[in-house]
């Protein structure tokens, strides 16, 4: 919780597969252990990010929804 967000990916308004694709591209530049914040409005992205983190070994440390905007905080493995 005291770790600052390393990178924010703004995927608001983007449809599948762009939220995942943009996050994967950003994650490449994030060192292990650091946090990525993703903002998305695509409801399908909720399950997508769960699946993506399982496939890539990253983990979701925080997940919230506020007025149609989903916020994921992902820890880079």
């Amino acid at each position: 919780m005291s770790d600052a967000i390393h990178t924010t990916v703004d995927a608001k308004g983007l449809s599948c597969p762009m939220p995942i694709v943009k996050t994967a591209q950003a994650a490449k530049l994030v060192p292990a252990g650091e946090l990525i914040e993703v903002l998305a409005t695509d409801p399908g992205s909720v399950k997508d990010f769960a699946a993506w983190t399982r496939s890539t070994g990253n983990s979701i440390v925080e997940q919230a929804e506020d007025d149609g905007v989903y916020r994921f905080v992902i820890k880079r493995a």
């Binding site: 597969p17 995942i20 694709v21 591209q25």
Partner: protein, 194 residues
């Protein structure tokens, strides 16, 4: 029945807690630290917009998820990967006629249904803009950035008279069915025929 008197042994409690914490931490580590390398093989046989989109979407997500991803472009599915500017391809009447009737290039794909003489792709373009759906060009770029392998079918290149210089940059060397078959049947591999 003797009542058991539990003497609070602070030292034992602490070590038990420590042991428990250790065990929980150990369980959280993956038993085998080698991650599974998954693979996706897409046989892209179709050349229409509504069919090439799922090829590129599945491939980009697979690559984004760490899968080794390969797209085998065969038959109609090879034409969208010809350079946009190349209008006529091939040697001889028949090959040239083929490219005349099936315009190559990713920006010129038709719809497999409701093409409406070109209105269909235009409408899909408008809807994509409105709902922020990525275009085939954007998806192709993302795929190539993420290391998706695009393998042209040698046989299709021969039959349609397509040369390396007609094709877009970044494609792999042409292969045949045996190569693709082997890839499809490897461990931890999913394959699609689109």
């Amino acid at each position: 029945m003797a009542t058991e008197t539990t003497t609070p042994e602070a030292a034992t409690d602490e070590s038990a807690e420590a042991k428990l914490a250790e065990a929980v931490a150990a369980a959280a580590q993956p038993a085998d630290s080698t991650p599974i390398q998954r693979q996706l093989v897409v046989i892209n046989w179709s050349g229409e917009l509504d069919k090439v989109l799922p090829t590129l979407i599945m491939s980009s997500v697979a690559a984004a998820s760490g899968y080794k991803t390969s797209v085998f472009m065969t038959f109609w599915g090879l034409l969208p990967f010809v350079k946009d500017e190349k209008r006529i391809t091939g040697d001889g009447m028949m090959q040239k006629m083929l490219s005349f009737m099936q315009r190559p290039g990713i920006s010129h794909m038709k719809m497999s249904k409701m093409n409406f003489m070109g209105m269909g792709p235009w409408m899909i373009g408008k809807l994509s803009e409105q709902y922020k759906v990525a275009s085939p060009q954007e998806l192709l770029e993302a795929c190539q950035l993420m290391g998706v392998e695009f393998l042209p079918c040698q046989m299709t290149m021969d039959m349609f008279g397509l040369k390396r210089k007609d094709m877009i940059d970044g494609l792999g060397d042409p292969v045949g069915a045996a190569t693709v078959l082997e890839m499809m049947t490897e461990e931890h591999t999913g394959s699609l025929f689109i």
